[in-house]
Every structure is written in structure tokens, then in C-alpha cells.
């Protein structure tokens, strides 16, 4: 059975044990949004160091997509998304 989390309001499928980053990339989501005057977030170093893939989590603090296992029902979105509708 496939599991899903939501990304900026849209469902993204993932396989058990997969990271958020892996699922997003497989779904073709390369640009993780435009949090700053800098370009959009992105998976970059893959080991939690660069903080480029940090994503907002509804009702919790942001996490590195490359380190964090995907979980069913997680509501994720581009940074910063406090109070934003899509999370």
C-alpha cells in the first residue's frame, strides 16, 4: 500500500523507509520553494550539512528533507510557511 505526505498541499507518494528528499525528487520536485532572496530550496549535500533541503512541517519545527524519514500524513511545505495556508 502506498503512503503519502503532502507537499504544499499536494500528495506525494513514498515508499517505506524513504526520506522526504528521495520522495520529492522522485515526484520531480527539485525546487523546494523560494524562502528568501536566495533561490529556491533544494536537496544538495544529502547529509544534513548544507541545510538547503530544509522544509516546513505543520505544527512542528522544520526538518532536513535528506535526513528525515517520510511519514504518512505529514504536511510539508516550502520555508518559511508559518501561518501559510498550504501546510
Amino acid at each position: 500500500m502506498t503512503s503519502y505526505f503532502s507537499w504544499n498541499g499536494n500528495p506525494v507518494a513514498f515508499q517505506p523507509g524513504e526520506t522526504i528528499a528521495a520522495a520529492l525528487l522522485r515526484a520531480g520536485i527539485i525546487d523546494l520553494g523560494q524562502p528568501l532572496n536566495t533561490p529556491g530550496g533544494r536537496v544538495f549535500c544529502g547529509i544534513g550539512a548544507c541545510q538547503g533541503c530544509v522544509v516546513a512541517v505543520a505544527d512542528a519545527a522544520p526538518v532536513e528533507a535528506c535526513l528525515t524519514p517520510a511519514r504518512d500524513g505529514l504536511r510539508l511545505g516550502s520555508l518559511p510557511a508559518v501561518g501559510a495556508d498550504h501546510v
Binding site: 515508499q15 517505506p16 523507509g17 524513504e18 526520506t19 528528499a21 528521495a22 525528487l25 522522485r26 520531480g28 527539485i30 525546487d31 523546494l32 528568501l36 532572496n37 536566495t38 533561490p39 529556491g40 530550496g41 533544494r42 536537496v43 544538495f44 549535500c45 544529502g46 547529509i47 544534513g48 550539512a49 548544507c50 541545510q51 538547503g52 530544509v54 512542528a60 519545527a61 522544520p62 526538518v63 535528506c66 535526513l67 528525515t68 524519514p69
Partner: protein, 428 residues
Amino acid sequence: MCEAPILVVGGGPAGASAAASLAEAGLPVLLIEQRDQLGGAIHRLPAPGNASHIWRPARHRRNWARLTARLQAAAGRIETHTQTVFLGVDGQDRFLLDDRSKGLVFTRRLRAAIIAVGAVETIRPFSGWELPGVMTAGGAQVLLKETGRPLEGPILIAGSGPLLPAIAAQLAKAGNPPVAVLERGRPWNAPGALARLALSWAPMSEAATYAATLARSRVPYRCGATVTQAEPDGDGLKVGIRIGEVQEFLHVRHLLIHDGIEPNRTGIPFPEPDADVPVLLAGDGREALGADAAILDGHRAAMQLLTRLGRANRAAASDERGLQRARDFQANLARALHSEPVVPAPETVICRCEGRIYADLATLAEDASAREIRLMGRFGLGACQGRFCGPMIAALRGQPLPVTTPPRWPLRPVSVAALARLTTDETE
């Protein structure tokens, strides 16, 4: 009261080797790993439930199988916390550990610590390196090992070092060969170093396998070739490349970059083997010598610690010999692939977290303090805390970034709520 454990930070080859060696000597070990499985970047395992296995050299498979068996045999003395991030040491010598699965930060009374947090990849900034679609080669490799699936769409690999052909070959075997591999260096200009490299059997046979794979998949491998810029182009990237004097453009979906590795030392406490709670570094986090050397170095650090704690141990001269071989190999590799630094264009992003560019760096005083670089320049002030811009700034300014004293914690961002739930085993 329980015996205070030895903290081992990092479940890669160095950490696993250190943890197993200490536990085999009868000491309790607290092993923490930021991911949900041990292995580190090099021995990244497929996600549980994912049957697809990415091709990797048999030597690495054997090494990790051996380490895993040793950890299992000594499991009774090793308390392992996965999804746990090392946050550094606070001003009262607490080692702070962020257990992401429990959502809290904890500290333990410790007997000693071995820190084996591996390496970070270095990159040489060019205009556009900050764009989505640009990833480090190592990051892409970890992803590939985990998912067994290559990134989709045309891929270009550029930079320098042996990782470039390795990831290229793995992508090719997984079904998506890259459009090209661009190596910055010109190894043919350093025949002496090249000849000495050829004497290193294991890495060279690995390289030969990669070369054969690339040839079969018709992936061009060009030396003296660099990426000069990248810009968004449809749903991919338009990448400017220079090969010798020729400038051309490629359209790709992903650009993988990598210019070697260096120890991940940002915020890591200084090694203090003689302190009350001795702290040692091991593996690529101490000296970037690669995966095989990391196993030896983990053992070496464990034996050094046992000596320090007055325990009998089996310190091995072979560890030192192996490390020296790896050191010679890396030195020859560096000589063979050496290339002069390039001054980036003024608008090149240096600090991605804060959107700071090379021109901003140039306005800082020559003798600017660490605090000025951080506060006024806003370099190293962002979420990555200078892990990427620090080495770049050091290379571009021609001097190391002044260190902040005392070392800052948290050395990685930590949830406010988790830190507020700090638990200690102190009896106050």
C-alpha cells in the same frame, strides 16, 4: 550506578569501527547516528523495504558486512541511538544529543568521546551553483544508494576527484548514464603522481571498473574541463562549460558538482585526548583519507583511548601503516588533479543561506574578525553555519576563517521545543 559510557558520534565506518573496538574491550558505548540506519555516506544501505541494490565494489560490501557482524556480536555493550544529531558541547562540557525520533535533546555523563562525523564535500563556487537542480555528487550518490533509482533526466557531473567517475558509473549501471563527466584537473600533466597512484591496487582496480563502465555507456570523461555558469532553463538548467579554450552550453536536468572532501569540523570540539573526559576525532572527520582508512582510524582512536584509560589494548602498527598508505595516495591524487583556484565573478553566491555574494566578501576588511565576517558580512551566519561558505571564504581570502571562540553550539539547528525538553542525567 551504571558505568559512564563512551560516546561515539557517527555510525559510518570510523564510528562503527571505534564503537565495535571499544565494546569488544568491554566498555559500554553510546553510539549515535543522525540517520535511521548505520552505515554513513559510504555504506548507505537501501531504505528498508527497498529491494533494489545499487552496484558497489565488493570490497566495500565486505568491509561493512564485517563491521556489522562485530557490532552485532558486541550489541550488549552498545546503546545505539539513530536519528540522533550531535549538537556540540556546551560551556559546561555537556555533549548535547538531539534525538529527533523522541523530539528531545539529551545529555549523558560520559567517560570519553570519539567523534567520527565524516567529511563534507568542498565545492568551487560559480554563478548558478546555488540553483535547484545542482546537487553535490556525494549527495546524489547517497540518494542513489538509498533508493536504487537514478535521478531522472539528463545529468552532468563536474568538478574534481575520483568520486566523479564513481557516481557516473553507478548512474550508468542504474540505467541513466550522465551526459558527460568534466574533470577540472589535468592528470596527464603530473605523470609522476599518476604513476605512483597506479601502484595502489584497490582504488585503481575500482577506477578501472568505473572506466570500463563509462566506456561501455559512451559517457565522455573530459579532463581540464569546468563548469563556468548555470542558469534556469525550462524545467532544467543551461550549463556553460569550458573545455580548454572552447566554451559551450549543455541543457541538463541535474548538475552534480564535487571538488573533493574535507573533514567536517564546523563546531566540532577540539580533540583533547588528555582532558578529564577525553575527546578524540576519527575517520574522515579527522583527516579525509577515505572509507578504508576510516575503519583503521576508528580502531586507532579506540586503542588510543583505551591506553588513555589505562586499559590493555591491541594497538596495531598496521593501522598506522594503512593510514600512511592512504595519506600517500591522497597526496598523489591531489598532485595529479591539482588546479589553480579561479576567482569567481562578483555576483557569484558564496553564502547560500543568507544570499551573500563574492562582491560582499570583497568589501570586508582584510583583518576583519570572525565576528565582523559573521555579523557585518553575514557570512557563516545562516542555517548551515558556514559549513559550505567557510571553506570557500578561506580559499578566496587566502586565509582560514577566524574561528569563533568559544565554539558555538548548537552546531546544527535544533527544534526549539526539543531543546526546551532538555534532559540530563545530572544529579543537582
